[in-house]
């Protein structure tokens, strides 16, 4: 196994990403199963960085000629899904905020109208 500067950088990033996972676990963003899943993902990533030839074996099994192609295809699909989820979430947040602002405006107007009616009656 040859350790190149590129592999060191990639492994460094993977280690950094895994420490963020640990922090999120400590903050209880996710539980034990989440920690195990993310640790497995980063461990597999580190394994393929150290032994890139093994990713070709997996790729051929999936029907893709090179490991790199399989990784890129998977990454693109995942990113498209994440973008969709982000857009859906942002769209939903905006709807909720608009609804809140609307109800606040209507409620404030109702209170002001009732207050005006009361003061007119007092006269």
């Amino acid at each position: 196994m040859i350790i190149t500067p590129f592999k060191i950088i990639m492994l460094g990033f993977i280690f950094f990403a895994w420490t963020r996972v640990l922090l999120r676990y400590k903050e209880k963003v996710f539980g034990g199963p989440g920690l195990m899943a993310w640790t497995a993902i980063w461990a597999v990533s580190a394994y393929f960085v150290l032994t890139p030839g093994k990713s070709d074996v997996v790729a051929r099994y999936l029907g893709v000629s090179r490991g790199t192609d399989a990784v890129f295809s998977l990454a693109i699909i995942l990113m498209a899904y994440l973008v969709y989820r982000l857009y859906a979430s942002a769209s939903y947040q905006q709807k909720i905020i608009t609804k809140l602002v609307r109800e606040l405006a209507l409620s404030t107007h109702r209170k002001e109208s009732q207050s005006k009616i009361k003061s007119l009656r007092r006269r």
């Binding site: 857009y87 769209s91 608009t98 602002v101 609307r102 606040l104 405006a105 209507l106 107007h109």
Partner: protein, 229 residues
């Protein structure tokens, strides 16, 4: 019949008082006219001007800018709860003529349709060519996505019958609301009609409203709305 004139206003301190002063207070066939201004989080003196007007109007102030869709849906929610028989949306930038509003109201009173749009393109004389081009483009998209044929999907002068007020559920925030009305027309099988109107184009009013550069994000929002509900 009780009529509500809904005016969404965002940063219109220059013209809002004049626009309101020209609105009709009596229309044949209408017992009561209520002017409902929705101040869409204006950062200029629009809110203060509205509150300081002598005329008896209903002012709804949105704390933050919610967009045309947010402002109109607030106005329609108020109208729905207040039990008005008909409602009209009217631009705050002085683009519309009071006589066209009266024309639209008369069409509502005689029940010509549930959703009636004042179309600037039935007679487009005086309309800038880029506005005509942009409008035709959006009309095609409205037809493709929602199956409703219209000559002016982006017109701000719109009339609603009580049935339309009850049935329509507007959940979009920005300029895409103009096309979304047609989605609601198709969904609830509302009767759609048009009346010809003439817009007033000044340097001020041309600076407002839908821009052709907004076309792409608007189409994305319409597609999202169509396929995510």
């Amino acid at each position: 019949m009780r009529l509500a004139i809904i005016i969404p206003a965002y940063n219109e301190e220059t013209v809002i008082a004049e626009v309101i002063s020209k609105l009709p207070t009596k229309i044949t066939g209408v017992r009561e006219v209520e002017i409902v201004i929705v101040n869409d989080g204006s950062t200029d003196k629009t809110g203060e001007i509205i509150d300081g007007l002598n005329t008896s109007i209903t002012a709804l102030h949105l704390l933050i800018n919610s967009g045309l869709g947010g402002a109109i849906s607030t106005g329609l929610a108020y109208v729905k709860r207040s039990g008005h028989d008909i409602a009209v949306t009217y631009d705050a930038d002085g683009q519309h003529r009071p006589e066209d509003l009266i024309k639209l109201v008369k069409a509502l009173v005689v029940k010509k349709g549930d959703f009636i749009v004042g179309s600037r393109l039935i007679n487009s004389k005086g309309m800038p060519w880029y506005r005509i081009f942009g409008n035709h483009g959006l009309n095609w998209i409205t037809l493709l996505l929602f199956g409703v044929k219209t000559t002016d999907s982006q017109s701000g002068l719109r009339g609603f019958s009580r049935k339309a007020i009850e049935k329509m559920n507007i959940e979009v925030e920005r300029m895409e609301v103009s096309s979304i009305f047609f989605s609601e027309v198709a969904k609830h099988k509302l009767k759609y009609k048009e009346v010809p109107i003439k817009a007033i184009y000044t340097e001020y009013s041309l600076g407002k409203g839908q821009k052709n550069a907004n076309a792409f994000p608007l189409i994305v929002k319409l597609l999202w709305n169509k396929f995510s509900r």
